[in-house]
Amino acid sequence: MDWELLRTSFWPMLSGGLTGTIPLSIASFAIGLALALVVALMRISGQPVLSGIARFYVSVIRGTPLLVQLFVIFYGLPSIGLTIDPWPSAIIAFSLNVAGYAAEILRAAILSVPKGQWEAGHTIGMSRALTLRRVILPQAARVSVPPLSNTFISLVKDTSLASLILVTELFREAQQIAAFSQQFMLLYLEAAAIYWVFCLVLSSGQSALEKRLGRYVAH
């Protein structure tokens, strides 16, 4: 085994992870989650047009490959005169994708809160919006943490696709060093190991968050 290569390639890859993979994941997830909330609320609004749009959006996002979505935005849009740089392209594609999946999670979580909670909010004089914010969403957040964590972990791994639109992140570093050194097995396994460690850290973060949000329910 080429320990020297392992050592010299580790830092560029890790830094690709820390300056590429992680910020890309966090930014896309944050934007995607905000969008998802809008889509979820449209979906349960009871307004046929809004909920129709939301349903259509979710269907398209979930029914098409992420790689194709990424390519449409980065390689497709320039042909209609809209050229977007790699980083923003990646963030747009990943956010829109996360929104499609997270919208369904949030919708189910909101609907899982008992109707009596809405009524209790209303009887103390809260509007729908205030009840949603103060009563419903905090409870929906608790049930949606596990599925949303899975979405986030998938996203972290999926950001490796951004290497195909020239974003410098963990996997692109690995590809470049591999091409140069011709040590494909070693470098791709090393990349896999780093992704794995990232995901392990995230999973333990998920458990901590679940514990925190679950402090008010019986165990």
Binding site: A120, H122, L130, V217
Partner: protein, 254 residues
């Protein structure tokens, strides 16, 4: 309007769900400081009446008028705001408590006063603590609802309603989700409120309690008020056959 007018007058309330007409012209008048017990068989529309009074449900027709406003006439074009304004005058205590599970007892109670009524937090907390002390739950202010017994949760539910300082308290079977040994502690609290001249409408199957606490009993069946009057009269010597049968069934279930 004079001060001797009823606190609340509901006239001709109608409500249908799909094809089922649940309320067929309900009239109610509730004088300030009085306790009305609303009784009747399951499905007779008792909960729906309370919900209409509290603006949780929009009647198809009729009016709900509080002394000093709001007065809302349903049926035509009722603005959402108008219907919701009913909530400023009354507060509901639910059969299933419906406490906010993610908030402590104290947070449950001050949520409305602070977030909706915009009262200073310090005052709301002081009020909440005083009210909790009165229902024997002073030590529970920082507990989460899941740590409380059903009876304790319902007492918090009552305090949450009281903290809004409403003119009218609405109780929907406040003890029917409770284990029998916990019913007494909740009924005691309600009785004390009656003694303090709170105006209340209580849906209940506890006829002995109704007779003791209520100034008036309203018997509903099939979406209409069949009979109403003094508890002793309605519950001991009903005029209507339907009332008689209902009372008999409750007193002698088998």
């Amino acid at each position: 309007m004079s001060p001797t007018d009823p606190l609340l007058t509901a006239t001709g309330l109608r409500k249908s769900f799909g094809d089922t007409e649940v309320l067929k012209s309900i009239d109610l008048r509730i004088d300030a400081g009085r306790v009305v017990a609303l009784v009747g068989p399951s499905g007779s529309g008792k909960t729906t009446v309370l919900r209409c009074l509290n603006g949780l449900e929009t009647p198809d027709g009729g009016t709900v008028a509080f002394r000093g406003g709001p007065s809302v006439e349903f049926g035509g074009k009722v603005s959402k705001k108008e219907a919701l304004s009913l909530r400023d005058r009354s507060a509901m205590v639910f059969q299933g408590y419906n406490l906010f599970p993610h908030m402590t007892v104290l947070e449950n109670i001050i949520e409305g006063p602070v977030r909706v009524q915009k009262r200073p937090r310090k005052d709301a907390v002081a009020d909440a603590e005083r009210l909790l002390g009165r229902v024997g739950l002073a030590g529970k202010r920082d507990d989460y609802p899941f740590n409380l017994s059903g009876g304790q949760q319902q007492r918090v539910g009552i305090v949450r309603a009281l903290a809004l300082q409403p003119d009218l308290l609405l109780f929907d079977e406040p003890t029917s989700a409770l284990d029998p040994e916990l019913v007494g502690e909740v009924l005691t609290v309600i009785k004390e409120l009656a003694e303090e001249q709170w105006t209340m409408v209580i849906v209940t199957h506890e006829l002995a309690f109704a007779r003791e606490v209520a100034d008036e009993v309203v018997f509903m069946d099939g979406g209409v008020v069949v009979e109403h009057g003094h508890p002793d009269q309605v519950l001991r010597d009903p005029r209507e056959e339907r009332t008689r049968r209902f009372v008999q069934r409750l007193l002698h279930p088998f």
